[in-house]
Symmetry: C2
């Protein structure tokens, strides 16, 4: 008998009809002869509504009490989902995070899973019950409820799959799987049958928004085979797993990220440690810097350009203004009319032609490149936002056309 | 240092403003140098809304899953109340039923408290924290969440007071305390300073609707001093405690209960065991019978009259109709245009004049008496519903006028 772990997000269980739909999906899997463990998120906007209630009373509430409050969201959805499965006539039990054995560290609102005590879970599976587990939550060493922060329910599902040695962990979402590019901006984009953990990690952080990085990292660590699928249809999804090194495809996907802004410090003093000084200051303020390029100095001055998330632009500019005496740049330029376009693929590590092919495609499409950054399995370029869609299509045609 | 246990019902915490109001009340008690433990119900209509959500999915959901669902209501209110107290700058922690050590039997939706493991509670009090406990809930031997049924939060508060040997258990409600009669129908009614457990039990079951009987029974068993007060003002409430036998007042209060219907079986066979036959049948159907009178038979036939809750009238009549062959009555009469009026007082056990004084008062007020029942500390009469208010005032004037 196989063990299948499934995860359903908040939109998949947002109302009674969706809950019944998910219940049927679960019982279909059970009927096919599998044991089934399900991790569920809070329904639709429940979490936001609870946060609103808290803010009305105390905008600076302790994180410990926030977790006590927010964890009710998943407790509501597990009980409702269990009731729906009862209605379909199958044996089922819902378990809160602590009942399912999730033990975390003490970092409220953003806790890390330390262990899962599977005794109760295993006992329920031995009774051939479908087990519905509250995602996103656990218990710390003080016996207090914690929540796992962003992407927490995905992480709960992967942790369950790892602890129970499940055959597969199916992540149900509102997209069909992982695509070679965003189908909304690239008509020739198609769904990938499979992808490696590392590729998925790059795609996730580049704005593909399918799986949270934490869950992919955990899946990689414990070698959990993931399947990303839609809860609204029966299409085969995309498998995320350890893919063998011999790749037929150099490139897996093209992504566009509009949440980016560029800042250029022109004519700063060309001395060692200048970059360290600037980026140390920015990091201290809690702002993440992504792409960085530095012009080759002439011994006197050089230019340093970098990108930040668009939402951090104002704070970054204010910080630079405050410290302009230290930075001593001739001019500070910026733009939020830019996008980051990236190609990802484990195959490119052994193939030097990928970056140049990408540049050629962009050149043919008359897309000007602002900045370039490369890693073993990705190449990112910064382009004008108006050109980004054209850039994605040009690159997709070059590397991924069928 | 004194230990005060307080209980706030759903209407007392129904919105952010009320929650802040309750928080100030709690911190006032704490500031006065007391340790404070608080039991809270779910906010306003939360429980009803959760039941509605469940019904939409599965009207026959298991009780175990209902408890999983409903227990979130109190978990929401404890965290919000704790946040409100944090805002006022006092040390506080919220605890679910299981965190507070409530262990119950396995009867979901109507569980009984078996023990309270006070280790965590005591540790929090030792840190001089205000402790906010989710009322109405506990954990059974399977580590599953249970709820305590009607009046559950009152019972939680009394159980906390008993387990922690509190100096007093203050039950905050929307009335000022326990009155000699319902002030809405009796202008001369006034608030009692104190009342015995037994008197309170009779008053509660007679429709005074202040405290649930389960909580009063537990308070009596563990000798917990109760104070019934309003959460909306600072008036002294009513103490419920072991009152010494020497009573200056014969009668404590007069109550009216409209939730009653009378059924008369006229001309049934006058044989031993007839009453047993009838009431056995009714009890088997889960219907509670209250007052019973039986006419003195003439050796051939007799009349049996009894009262049931008004909501049970139709079911009772249907049951009697089904079994009319067995009952074999000449005629079955019924009325729901009746009320039960009762006087309660521990003093009347040693004073035979109370019942006759009551009948005299009713006679003077031209109120006809349908049925009479007496116990050691109460006398109840059934009267026409239109006469009930007049009856309450006449009796109050006779025994309780100041």
């Amino acid at each position: 008998m196989k063990l299948v772990v499934q995860k359903y997000g908040g939109t998949s269980v947002k109302d009674a009809e969706r809950v019944m739909n998910v219940a049927r999906r679960i019982t279909d899997t059970y009927k096919a002869g599998n044991n089934v463990v399900v991790a569920v998120s809070a329904q639709g906007d429940t979490t936001d509504e609870l946060i609103e209630k808290a803010k009305e009373i105390n905008p600076d509430a302790s994180k410990r009490e926030m977790d006590m409050l927010l964890s009710t969201g998943e407790q509501i959805s597990i009980s409702l989902l269990a009731m729906a499965i009862e209605k379909l006539g199958y044996p089922v039990i819902s378990l809160t995070g602590w009942q399912a054995g999730f033990r975390t560290d003490t970092k409220y609102t953003n806790a890390r899973i330390k262990t899962i005590d599977t005794e109760r879970l295993q006992a329920e599976l031995d009774r051939r019950r479908i087990v519905i587990v509250a995602g996103f939550q656990g218990l710390n060493k003080y016996d207090d409820i914690t929540t796992l922060g962003r992407g927490g329910s995905d992480t709960s599902a992967v942790a369950l799959a790892a602890a129970l040695h499940a055959d597969v962990c199916e992540i149900y979402t509102d997209v069909d799987g992982v695509y070679t590019a965003d189908p909304r901006i690239c008509k020739s984009a198609y769904k990938l049958e499979e992808i490696s953990y590392d590729e998925m990690l790059e795609l996730a952080s580049l704005g593909a928004n399918v799986l949270h990085n934490r869950s992919v990292e955990m899946a990689k660590k414990y070698n959990v085979k993931l399947s990303v699928r839609s809860s609204l249809n029966n299409n085969e999804g995309t498998y995320v797993k350890e893919v063998s090194q011999v790749e037929k495809m150099l490139v897996r996907g093209v992504t566009r990220d509009n949440d980016v802004a560029r800042i250029s410090l022109c004519g700063v003093e060309d001395t060692p440690g200048k970059a360290f000084q600037v980026f140390g200051m920015v990091a201290k303020a809690g702002i993440s810097v992504d792409l960085i390029i530095q012009s080759i100095g002439d011994g006197k001055t050089k230019d340093i350009s970098f990108t930040v998330a668009e939402g951090d632009l104002d704070a970054t500019l204010a910080l630079l203004e405050e410290n302009k005496g230290i930075i001593n740049a001739r001019e500070i330029k910026w733009s939020n009319e830019v996008s980051k376009v990236s190609i990802v693929g484990a195959g490119m590590v052994n193939n030097t032609g990928v970056a140049s092919g990408m540049f050629e495609a962009l050149s043919n499409a008359h897309v000007n490149i602002n900045m370039i950054a490369t890693s073993e399995i990705k190449v990112s370029v910064l382009v004008a936002r108006k050109d980004a869609e054209r850039a994605v299509n040009a690159i997709h045609d070059k590397f991924l056309s069928k």
